[in-house]
Symmetry: C2
Subunit: 414 residues, 2 copies
């Protein structure tokens, strides 16, 4: 594996505490993978000089490429430069060009450089400077006994830009790269996805295959190592086989989202949407409006938490509520049709049910949910029972509702 | 620092890929901290025997306590037992009691134990077994040259129960513990919180102080190491000083949320709430309904993304929309009063504005937002400009709206 093993080092005492996660590592894993590096270790370490030196020593010993994020700021807590320079026996020298850049950056926002920021111009002798277009801390790249060590700022936007603009081009190529593909699936439990893809999985060849269940949807992550410049025929073959095995349950790839796919379908049909939610409490509208430009097709929605609200906001007839109860298929259908009519939308989407822990009865325990879609002559409802605690039921129900609408839009004439 | 340095090892190749974060480490950091252990390193490593041995070797060398999660399952990918037994030169032996437990667990759900689960009964000689009441993989505890090594399952619920029920009691006490306190602040930018607490921070004494800005609110994390059984007088002193410096901007501690605090205030007043949202697109309702039992005070809400929806759902008069435009203080006020009246709620809360990237004009760029509260004779509106991209503006606006309502409820007679 020589020449291709990477380790990421996330630096900062807050990363060791109860309340922070290292999100930079996920980005690095993806980008380094695209260049053929395998991340074998991912370490977080605090702002302590001895611990930092120790972590770098271990990382340099076991990995060809070490990418550290954080600890390059101007404060006394920022010790990454010192730790690496000390470990490798390199003096820290002020770089006049870097200093001029930091001063210019402050001038551009009408400020004089605070004296403490001068530290950020210190560079271990022989290190290459990676410019930071978004902040003051430059990145540094060192080569040591065949190893490559990159020191990057911890601010995600700065780190990401620096990786793409400066680090990856300097790393050159390993002659190989990883091709990653994520296939996104809705409307099937993981066990059923497994069952349908048994043969496809068996014939996966050299492709790594990971299946994840996340908030009401399933993801299959494929990864294949290929020659630089070559395609990934096995990934393409598996993609096609999964698509054929799952049909319309496969809703997208890579960064696709259910709300984005639904938005595209509505835009393509020149159609508009309104939603009426009960137990999801705004989660469906929240996801729809997370898409930039949603105002082109989203008319609005209501959250009817009480019977009165379902009647007054979504136009559910009193007698339907009385006869069937709020958690029922007829009420879901009346909500979907009612909100579409009220807002003059082509499509209406509704959820009603018990999120728990309160509510429900023996026949309708928490997790009992009805979904409905109305539009273009279509009027469909569906009852499902969703597992999980309150927030899981709400999230899963929102995903199920978006998927229900997606299927209806696919079935309707364009 | 001997006797109190811990390292967490998260095991599983998926933890090195682009799409997974190690959430177990956060829980462990908190619990171990309460027992006086400092987590100094946090490492993720894949399902590779050599890498696992290497990671354990490094961890045992530099840490007194190593807590590993994952790799105890029944499949060939699960190599934690083998790696540790091999590294420490201990034979793996089948434990009849553990085997009987696994068989009984399968029997209880009407199944015979699959042959591959037999592996989970293998125990490195001399290891103590930590029972798993929620799954098949037992935990293991080993002592080696003064170090303690705990092997726990990676499933969060199983791991957490095992830590609390079995691991922590066995670790005994270090004679010291960490006291953690989180203070939660809304309605002030981080720089203003810093400015107001300059003197308090200077006199923080032995307390670690971290300030974080998260989605429209600020958190101050305090941590003090104290004797086992002793209180944390400096944490209490700082808590009181922060509360006095920030007044009502301090909305809660530790696990408190704005939506939870608002819910408590409404319950205490026996009052009900309705919301009308524009740019937040359901995010306010989503947060309110995330609280179990929200149906006791939340009547419902509307998401009025178009002028028509604002008029039809929230009852905003046509002439107010025409005269002032949808993104204006009068429209926000009309939305808040209108939705409260329509749903018969004591309080109405409204948001209107431009989330971006589209919409707005020179006078109202994306991020321009108006909030309004109506109820109990109160009718208040406020314009703010929020930084960030679309989703940040939406999140920050939802937080600002909840805080605006909180302040109005605090000001109103109970």
């Amino acid at each position: 594996m020589t020449g291709r093993c990477a380790e990421t080092l996330a630096i900062g005492s807050e990363l060791l505490g109860p309340s922070r996660l290292d999100t930079n590592g996920s980005f690095l894993a993806r980008r380094l993978g695209e260049r053929g590096f395998t991340v074998r270790f991912r370490t977080a370490v605090g702002d302590d000089l001895d611990d930092l030196r120790g972590a770098f020593e271990v990382a340099i010993h076991r990995s060809d490429l070490v990418v550290a994020t954080g600890g390059l700021g101007p404060t006394v807590d920022d010790l990454t430069r010192e730790a690496v320079a000390g470990l490798l026996g390199l003096p820290l020298e002020e770089d006049p060009e870097v200093l001029a850049g930091i001063e210019a950056r402050f001038r551009s926002i009408g400020l004089a450089m605070p004296p403490r920021n001068r530290r950020q111009a210190e560079v271990p002798r022989g290190a290459a400077v990676l410019p930071n277009l978004l902040g003051t801390a430059p990145g540094l790249l060192l080569r040591h006994q065949g190893r490559t060590i990159a020191l990057l700022p911890g601010v995600p936007a700065e780190m990401r830009a620096m990786v793409d603009d400066a680090l990856l081009p300097l790393l050159g190529t390993t002659g190989e790269r990883f091709v990653d593909r994520v296939l996104k699936i809705a409307g099937l439990p993981e066990s059923e996805v497994d069952r349908r893809l048994l043969d496809v999985h068996r014939d996966r060849g050299p492709v790594e295959w990971t299946i994840l269940a996340l908030g009401g949807q399933i993801e299959i992550h494929l990864r294949q190592k290929v020659e630089e410049g070559a395609g990934a025929p096995d990934v393409e073959r598996l993609d096609a086989a999964i698509a054929s095995g799952l049909g319309a349950h496969l809703f997208g790839r890579d960064d696709a989202t259910l709300e984005g796919v639904v938005g595209d379908l509505l835009l393509r049909r020149g159609a508009s949407l309104a939603v009426a939610e009960s137990l999801t409490g705004g989660a469906v509208a929240r996801r729809i409006t997370a898409v930039p430009g949603a105002s082109r097709y989203f008319r609005g929605g209501v959250v009817g938490y009480s019977d009165d609200a379902k009647r007054d906001l979504a136009g559910v007839p009193e007698e339907v509520l009385r006869e069937h109860g709020a958690v029922s298929e007829p009420v879901a259908l009346a909500m979907a049709a009612g909100i579409a009519a009220r807002l003059g939308a082509d499509w209406g989407l509704a959820t009603t049910g018990y999120a728990g822990p309160e509510g429900g009865d023996a026949a309708h325990p928490p997790g009992t949910v009805f979904l409905a879609v109305a539009g273009h002559g279509v009027s469909q409802a569906r009852g499902v029972t969703l597992p999980g605690d309150r927030s899981q039921v709400q999230e899963r129900c929102a995903a199920a509702a978006l998927d229900f609408l997606r299927r209806a839009l696919l079935g309707a004439a364009t």
